[in-house]
């Protein structure tokens, strides 16, 4: 801990080492992306990597897309500071994958081409449902992007000794620009390889640190927990639930609400759904999820060692005092264990994590806009694939620019909280419609529109009027108070509302065309008949 106090006390390690390891990562991924660009020609190549990835490859890429900075830095920090309650995130984020495995992945792969809008428009009125699907996709992606970009600012402060807000803004812009370049050049194929490289580095980094921590405590979990508890200043409270949530009745309900959003949000995240289209068949989609569950499960188990390890070896005091706050627990632990070199590696991994997730979000959002809004809503499907992909590339630049601006504005916000909101929006706006559409014969356009727009609006309105935005010292706007909804997490209300609206909209209207097409959709979904196969080069 004394080592941290030296050297100015605001940063750790050697910025030059951190930066150079990161630049090596950038150089390697750039080469990979440019190589991938050689075989990116058609729309299917650009959006879905020609459906040429194997299940295991895609599973690792999904892990790369899913394990964001909020998972790596956020959860490790939450466990280090708040103990057991941080671990609750890990569990929700993992269990959620069963929804994707059992209900969504394979059927979606068989019925869509590139986006969620494809699945909905299968049997409903194309233009309105595509517009709705694109709206919610863009909304979820935007919340998620904000979280990643905001995280980048804090990380920079810690690792590169860039402390002025202007300097951090410059780095955020650099991060965003680089990612847009990856997407423009490499398309889905390049992006997927970036995810694979990043996921491998992330797991390697987490594994090294966790094993190092374990060896320091001679593989004695109880010993690690005991020391974390005694160093925390809070005693056994860090080992028990309740430190972060549940100081009062509202806090408890808030936590249940958060848990619901976590477990139901994953299978509605557009950048995860889109990954299922990069494999040649439903069987490979299933294998993807199995691999993803393995990799993601392993990672979240390791967060336990990272978080409690940081609490025991670094101590909550220095973590809370560091520039990135609780987000700096993992980097500080790396410095404590392996000095400047391990810190440099872990910092590079953390940067790579942010970069890769941003790339995945940008390509998803731009695909949704170009494929659903431009090609099918505006041009009514009469557009050539080439110009659709051109629009996707332009959109990627616009979304990249927006997320840079948003990221600079959101710099300093709690990233785990922002990600939780993205999950709540995904669970409210997307999941009910996806499930109804795949399993309910009567489901129709009105139901889909009510569910998507109703769920999205309910969720966003409740967030705006929640204590997370105004009224409390911990709020986004501390000085004003216009909140009337007591919970910071809207899922407990907005998810049931969305399911209910989808049901009501459907039973109150009839759409024989949608019902008639259900036979075709169901047969295709369950058998894969006529689904798109891999592009043959």
């Amino acid at each position: 801990m004394t080592t941290l106090a030296q050297g100015g006390g605001t940063s750790v390690g050697e910025p030059l080492i951190n930066l150079s390891i990161f630049l090596v990562f950038v150089a390697i991924t750039l080469v990979v992306v440019f190589r991938a660009s050689r075989s990116t020609r058609t729309a299917s190549d650009y959006y879905a990597a020609g459906r040429s990835f194997t299940g295991p490859q895609n599973g690792i890429a999904i892990s790369g897309d899913y394990l964001s900075a909020a998972s790596f830095l956020g959860i490790a920090g939450a466990i280090a500071i708040s103990g057991y309650d941080g671990f609750l995130f890990s569990i929700g984020f993992l269990v959620a994958w069963l929804v994707a495995l059992l209900l969504v992945a394979e059927l979606l792969r068989n019925t869509g081409r590139f986006t969620m809008g494809d699945v909905l428009s299968y049997r409903m009125r194309q233009r309105p449902v595509r517009a709705a699907a694109a709206t919610s996709t863009l909304a979820v992606s935007f919340f998620y992007l904000l979280a990643q970009m905001a995280g980048a600012g804090g990380l920079v402060a810690l690792l590169l000794e860039v402390e002025s807000k202007t300097g951090q803004a410059g780095v955020i812009a650099g991060v965003g620009g680089l990612m847009v370049l990856y997407v423009l050049v490499g398309g889905m194929k390049g992006t997927t390889w970036v995810q694979i490289i990043k996921a491998t580095l992330l797991i390697a980094g987490a594994l090294i640190m966790a094993l190092w921590v374990a060896s320091k405590f001679s593989l004695n979990l109880s010993g690690l927990l005991g020391e974390a508890a005694s160093d925390s200043g809070k005693g056994d409270a860090v080992l028990n639930p309740g430190l972060l949530y549940g100081k009062d009745a509202i806090g408890k309900i808030d936590f249940v609400s958060l848990s619901l959003a976590l477990v139901l949000g994953t299978a509605g995240l557009p950048h995860i759904l889109m990954r299922f289209y990069t494999v040649p068949s439903a069987r490979e989609a299933r294998r993807s999820v199995v691999w993803a569950i393995g990799v993601i499960g392993l990672f979240y188990l390791l967060t336990l060692a990272l978080g409690y390890g940081a609490a025991a070896l670094v101590g909550p005091g220095p973590i809370a005092a560091a520039p990135g706050g609780s987000n700096s627990a993992a980097p500080l632990l790396a410095f404590e264990l392996g000095g400047e070199l391990l810190l440099g590696f872990i910092s590079a991994v953390a940067f790579a994590t942010i970069l890769a997730v941003v790339a995945g979000l940008v390509i998803t959002a731009s695909a949704s806009f170009a494929h659903d809004v431009y090609a099918n809503v505006v041009k009514r499907g009469t557009v050539a694939a080439d110009s659709e992909v051109r629009v996707a590339r332009i959109t990627a630049v616009v979304i990249g620019a927006l997320s840079i601006v948003g990221g600079i504005a959101a710099n300093g916000q709690n990233i785990a909280f922002l990600v939780a909101l993205a999950f709540a929006v995904a669970a409210s706006a997307n999941l009910p419609t996806i499930l109804y559409s795949l399993f309910w014969r009567r489901f129709n356009t009105t139901g889909a529109l009510w569910s998507i727009y109703g769920g999205l609006a309910t969720c966003v309105v409740l967030i705006v009027f929640s204590p997370a935005v105004s009224g409390l010292p911990s709020s986004m706007f501390k000085t004003v108070d216009f909140h009337f909804f007591p919970l910071a997490n809207p899922g407990l209300v907005s998810i049931p509302v969305s399911f209910l609206l989808g049901y009501l909209g459907t039973v109150l209207t009839r759409e024989p065309a949608a019902e008639a097409k259900f036979a075709e959709m169901e047969v295709r979904a369950l058998t894969g008949a006529g689904s798109e196969r891999a592009t043959v080069h």
């Binding site: 269990v95 059992l102 639930p241 069987r283 299933r286 075709e520 369950l526 058998t527």
Partner: protein, 117 residues
């Protein structure tokens, strides 16, 4: 180097034909097998997860009881969520490989029958 996109080809073109497949004994059986597995399993893991969440929220005394050294009930319960997730994944894959895939492949090849690959 040519790029071949497979559009939605293969299979019948009229909706009546799709309905015929949907009504066939084989397809009805496939749907039954899928739904009879995934629906109860989803209900089960969601209930198990919610039980955990509610216990962590409202039964803290119980979750804080120590079992082995500093390892308490809450931690074991949490780790069991990992174990059950891995287990359900393995069971589903086995079920899908043996009970779903052969049937769905049979129906698919019948629908797409004769289409050159």
């Amino acid at each position: 180097m040519s790029t071949i996109e497979h559009p939605r080809t293969g299979g019948p073109s009229s909706s009546a034909d799709w309905e015929q497949v949907q009504r066939s004994a084989e397809f009805v059986e496939l749907r039954r097998r899928l739904r009879s597995f995934v629906f109860p399993m989803t209900a089960a893991f969601l209930a198990w997860y919610l039980l955990y969440v509610l216990m962590a929220t409202y039964a803290r005394g119980f979750m804080s009881q120590k079992l082995l050294g500093d390892v308490n009930v809450g931690l074991v319960f949490g780790l069991l969520q990992f174990a059950s997730t891995f287990l359900i994944t393995a069971v589903y894959v086995r079920y899908a490989n043996t009970r779903l895939d052969p049937l769905s492949e049979r129906i698919r090849s019948r629908i797409e029958g004769g289409e050159p690959r």
